[in-house]
């Protein structure tokens, strides 16, 4: 394994740990790029007139692109050996151009499952102007030590 890779191991993760926040200024390009990168051609993600006629204040980030932001945010923290097993999120308000979105996360629980995989469960908040616009929970596998690799787990040994 390349020696310069960031490796976060389970012994360094505990309940209450805070993930460094990530701030992103959202532009129309952010929204359109995210929609096209996720092959979402629906007009509310690229056509402002269409969006406002639907009662939304502007074009807005689509669902799969929000998932991609959450994944990126957490694997920045975990390093490439972190393997997301499960993600659930609820979108309360739209994220539009001009918004400054901020990601925050805290470790709610750590555990080792019955096949020896170490997990961290995190609550992740996507906020705009200090208001939660999307609330997310993520279960991510973290290597037990520097020799462990959650990506090697398959079949019965992978329980997301």
């Amino acid at each position: 394994m390349a020696s310069d890779l960031k490796i976060l191991t389970a012994d360094k993760v505990k309940e209450g740990d805070v993930v460094p926040p990530l701030s992103v200024n959202v532009s129309a390009t952010t929204v359109v790029l995210g929609a096209l990168a996720s092959r979402d051609w629906r007009p509310m993600h690229h056509d402002r007139d269409f969006a406002t006629n639907q009662g939304v204040r502007d074009i807005f980030l689509n669902t799969p692109n929000q998932a991609a932001w959450f994944e990126r945010y957490l694997t920045d923290w975990s390093g490439p050996l972190g393997r997301v097993g499960r993600m659930k999120f609820k979108m309360r308000k739209s994220v539009c151009p001009g918004d400054a979105m901020v990601f925050n996360a805290v470790v709610k629980k750590t555990e080792t499952d019955d096949v020896g995989c170490c997990w961290a469960e995190l609550d992740v908040n996507l906020t705009v102007n200090d208001e939660t616009v999307t609330a997310c929970s993520v279960r991510i596998a973290i290597p037990a030590n520097e020799r462990d690799n959650p990506w090697e787990r398959r079949g019965e040994n992978w329980k997301p």
Binding site: P64, A68, E71, P80, V84, F89
Partner: protein, 171 residues
């Protein structure tokens, strides 16, 4: 107009059943993986550094959250006379229940075998539940949950994407 208070028997019979199966229109490809990572500034070396990907995942993989991307149809294709929609079951329900508007209220994803360049995916859509009629600030309609399970060309489970949707008529 379909009476909202009564769930048509045909729709009731769909609950718990796998109703639609779809196949990806193209093989998983590295260029689209880079486009997706670029859109969220994801510098994870698994997706950019072949040596890192080889040592950790035995070769390149796609970000797990790209699951739904691979089954979204092209906006246009030769010979196609009607737009093809992803999540076909959702649109079928909207039509049957005469609910023109819809939002995705929440989304749950779980991930299995990694998706790799060259893979070809298929999915199957199952209607897990439909609520009784509900009224909120958007309008009056019903919630439903659709589970979309994804498999690769070896029939290995690669993930499940569950959508909790609210489809409605504006008040």
């Amino acid at each position: 107009m379909v009476e909202l208070s009564e769930l048509p028997e045909e729709v009731r019979s769909w609950i718990g059943k796998t109703l639609d199966e779809d196949h990806g229109e193209f093989e998983i490809e590295q260029g689209y993986i880079a486009t997706s990572c670029s859109s969220v500034q994801n510098g994870n070396p698994l997706f950019w550094d072949r040596e890192a990907a080889q040592s950790i995942t035995h070769g390149p993989i796609a970000p797990p959250t790209m699951l739904s991307v691979w089954l979204r149809p092209h906006h246009w294709a030769p010979g196609r006379t009607e737009e093809r929609l992803p999540l076909e079951l959702h649109f079928k329900l909207k039509k049957k229940l005469d609910l023109p508007e819809a939002i995705i209220a929440s989304n749950e994803l779980s991930f299995g075998e990694p998706v790799r360049p060259g893979d070809k995916l298929r999915n199957q859509q199952t209607l897990r539940s439909i609520s009784d009629p509900k009224t909120n600030k958007l309008g009056t309609g019903r919630f439903w949950v659709i589970d979309v399970e994804y498999f690769n060309q070896r029939d290995e489970w690669v993930g499940t994407d569950s959508y909790n949707c609210f489809a409605y008529r504006r008040n």
